[in-house]
Amino acid sequence: MKRRKILVVDDDRTVLDSCKRVLEAEGFKVVLASSVKKAIDILEAEYFDLMILDVKMPKHDGMYLLEKIKEKWPLDRWPELPVVVMSGYPTNDTISESLVRGAADFLSKPFTPDELITSTNIILQRSKNHGKQ
């Protein structure tokens, strides 16, 4: 079975490393991006099964990236790229806004490895079923 590729976008190194360690241990191929700009570059070059995206980042935030993806790849990549949004300051507004913009799930920081793994698996399973249809 081909290894699933996950892109993690966050300006915080610790978070990126944590995600990489946990997800790689689960057998995923993990690519990290420390800013929205870098993430766009990576997305142009590669295809991913899932993106885990922090909301609050300097310069361009996660909402901006969600918007950008919609603009750049209106049909072919989107909605096939599911996004899990994470935030250290989860208000009702942030959660609902990200869901409206197409996020598949929402993770509150700090999360345990189990919470991250459960969310990832559920979303990938869902998109896989979706792809089959």
């Binding site: 946990v22 250290g88 700090p110 490895p113 991250l116």
Partner: protein, 660 residues
């Protein structure tokens, strides 16, 4: 605002002044009118009374003249010598005697008439001429007819006068001057004469032998009227005119008078007004009134003169110049008016002063209330009076002081609230920032701890340490979450709620915990609490929070009682409120801590047992419901927390529900 107040006030003052003024004016005018009327009447009555007396006096003088004639003639008739002369018809000597008598009292005519139908003798004219003496004058006929002496007023026609003395005819003749207001009269000249005369019978052997008579012609004879003026009015004059006048009328004609006409002569020949004539001569009554006599107004009295036959032949008149009385009256009334008007002015002045005195403290109060409305709560009051106004001033001052007190309380309260909310919002902002920054490293700590825990090659000791790290990190996560909950102004998701049921269900949640801790948890709901719109979840978390705090403060065997009820809102006095009261008999809260109770991060619990955010969050929730939380506490006796929820829509319907 200011202006209109002042206008209002001034109108009150001027109304007061106008009231004083009109009362003074009214009283003044009434007393003026009544006074003038009374004075007018009094003066007139006085004059009328006087003139009536004067007329009596005049009549006495008139009659005394008649009596004089009578007495003199009577004395003469008793003279034996005269009788002898008559018997012997010594005419010369008789004439001599009669002339003496008539000189004595100024008789105009006198004579002796014998039974033989013709007068024996006339003075003034020595005549025994038959032609002349056929006529017997009315005196003679009257004496013979009555058989006794006759005295009084007698009218002599021209013929009789001629018979007595031709000179008398000329004296009696009076030209009638046409007079306005007099009754019409055909003749131009009056030729008859009015006399006062007396006739005394002369007896011979008990039979009337003859008559001794004599009299005075009153026509143009002013002796009587002048004597009246002298004796009654004492020649008093007013502005060059005699005050008193007297007149003898023959019919309506002035034959003897001291009334002066416009030429300065006696107004003989003028006549009395028809009105007076009708009353006095025709009706035979007295007349007492003001009347226009020749030139001037007089206060007059007239009475008829009755002749010896009982006929009304003339009138006797006295009059006083009205002018004197009018002037007198005018003077008195002027003085009276002056006094009254002075009184009115003084009354108005006093009224004005009094109105000012009355309104002065009111003005003061208005000034004070203006100052108050401009924000000065400690205005200068001025002296406090002892009157009702003083009571008003005192009440106002008391009201002001309680206003100041309330103002201070409100200011303190709002300052406290402001500080609290500033504290909360700054803490909120801080919390949000901190939470955001802390959550990233926490993610790392949590992740790597869990990754380490997955390893199989670690000793139990290390595993235990790692578990402690994981556990404590979880605690940090909870604290941060609490901070975030506190900082977030979560919108209320309100819906109509039965408060009793909500409290009941909350209590169910902690029943087990109470049981474990050995605390007696009781709920005493008040029936009939209206359905109220609240955020169920948030309110429940508040109640829960306070109950759990109570548990922590209470020892096993202690009591926590929850009650519901109705109260009065402390925020808006006019509103009713729902109260949820949670009281315990635990350790209580020291006074120092009461102030800080709702501050974020304030806790008395041991480290690790509380975040210090519970009550701060609770307070925020209740405040967003428009209510507040009150705390009463005594160390060692317990605490009482009262959640107060004002009812914004306290209408008829809910009132009825409550009664039921």
């Amino acid at each position: 605002m200011d202006e209109s107040k002042r206008g209002l006030f001034y109108s009150t003052r001027s109304r007061l002044i106008v009231s004083f003024l009109s009362i003074s004016l009214l009283v003044g005018l009434i007393s003026l009118i009544v006074g003038i009327k009374l004075l007018y009447k009094t003066v007139l009555n006085e004059a009328t009374t006087r003139i009536t007396l004067d007329l009596n006096a005049a009549r006495e003088i008139y009659h005394s003249n008649i009596n004089t004639i009578h007495n003199v003639l009577l004395t003469a008739s008793l003279d034996g010598e005269l009788q002898l002369l008559i018997e012997t018809k010594q005419i010369d000597k008789i004439a001599q005697k009669l002339e003496n008598i008539s000189d004595q009292i100024g008789l105009d005519f006198a004579g002796i008439a014998l039974n033989s139908e013709k007068p024996l003798f006339h003075i003034g004219k020595l005549s025994t001429d038959e032609n002349d003496n056929k006529l017997q004058n009315p005196i003679i006929t009257s004496v013979f007819k009555n058989g006794s002496s006759v005295s009084g007023t007698v009218i002599f026609t021209k013929e009789f006068l001629m018979a007595e003395n031709p000179e008398l005819v000329e004296r009696a003749r009076i030209e009638i001057i046409s007079t306005p207001m007099a009754a019409p009269r055909m003749e131009k000249v009056e030729t008859s004469g009015m006399t006062i005369a007396s006739g005394i019978p002369l007896y011979n052997n008990g039979e009337i032998e003859g008559v001794l008579y004599g009299g005075i012609l009153l026509n143009k004879n002013n002796a009587i009227v002048d004597r009246v003026r002298e004796t009654v009015f004492q020649e008093e004059t007013y502005k060059g005119k005699s005050i008193g006048t007297a007149t003898i009328f023959f019919k309506d004609l002035r034959i003897s008078t001291n009334v002066i006409n416009s030429e300065g002569e006696r107004a003989i020949g003028t006549r009395v007004s028809k009105e007076v004539r009708d009353r006095v001569l025709i009706e035979g009554k007295r007349w007492t009134d003001r009347a226009f006599v020749v030139n001037d107004w007089y206060i007059t009295a007239y009475e008829p003169i009755i002749d010896i036959f009982g006929e009304r032949v003339g009138a006797l008149y006295v009059g006083v110049l009205e002018e004197k009385y009018i002037d007198l009256r005018r003077n008195i009334i002027s003085v009276f008016i002056f006094i009254t008007i002075t009184g009115i002015i003084v009354a108005i002045g006093l009224g004005y002063l009094m109105a000012n005195k009355i309104t002065q403290p009111v003005r003061q109060l208005i000034r004070v209330s203006n100052e108050v409305s401009n924000g000065n709560l400690e205005p200068e009051f001025g002296p406090i009076l002892k009157s009702e106004t003083g009571v008003l001033q005192k009440t106002f001052a008391e009201m002001l002081s309680s206003l100041r007190e309330r103002d201070n309380l409100q200011r303190a309260e709002s300052e406290r609230k402001l500080i609290l909310s500033e504290k909360q919002s700054s803490i909120g902002r801080l919390a949000a920032g901190v939470a955001h920054e802390i959550n990233n490293p926490l993610t790392g700590v949590l992740t790597f701890t869990h990754l380490l825990l997955r390893r199989k090659d670690i000793s139990n000791e290390v595993r235990s340490d790692l578990e402690t790290i994981a556990h404590q990190t979880d605690r940090v996560r909870k604290i941060v979450k609490g901070l975030l909950d506190f900082s977030r102004q979560t919108k209320l998701d309100s819906e109509p709620t039965d408060i009793n049921r909500l409290v009941e269900s909350t209590i169910t949640l902690v029943k087990n915990e109470a049981l474990i801790k050995g605390i007696n948890l009781e709920f005493k709901p008040t029936e009939g609490i209206p359905v109220h719109i609240v955020d169920r979840n948030q309110l429940q978390s508040v109640i829960l929070n306070i109950i759990i705090n109570a548990f922590d403060a209470t020892k096993p065997g202690g009591k926590v009682i929850v009650t519901t009820g109705m109260g009065i809102s402390t925020n808006k006095a006019e509103l009713k409120s729902i109260e949820i009261v949670i009281s315990d008999n635990g350790c209580g809260i020291p006074t120092d801590n009461l102030d800080k109770l709702f501050d974020p991060f304030f806790t008395t619990k041991e480290t690790g047992n509380g975040t210090g955010l519970g009550l701060a969050v609770s307070f925020g929730i209740i405040e967003r419901h428009g209510g507040n939380i009150r705390v009463q506490s005594e160390v060692g006796k317990g605490s009482t927390f009262t959640i107060c929820l004002p009812m914004e829509h306290f209408d008829e319907k809910t009132k009825n529900t409550r009664r039921r």
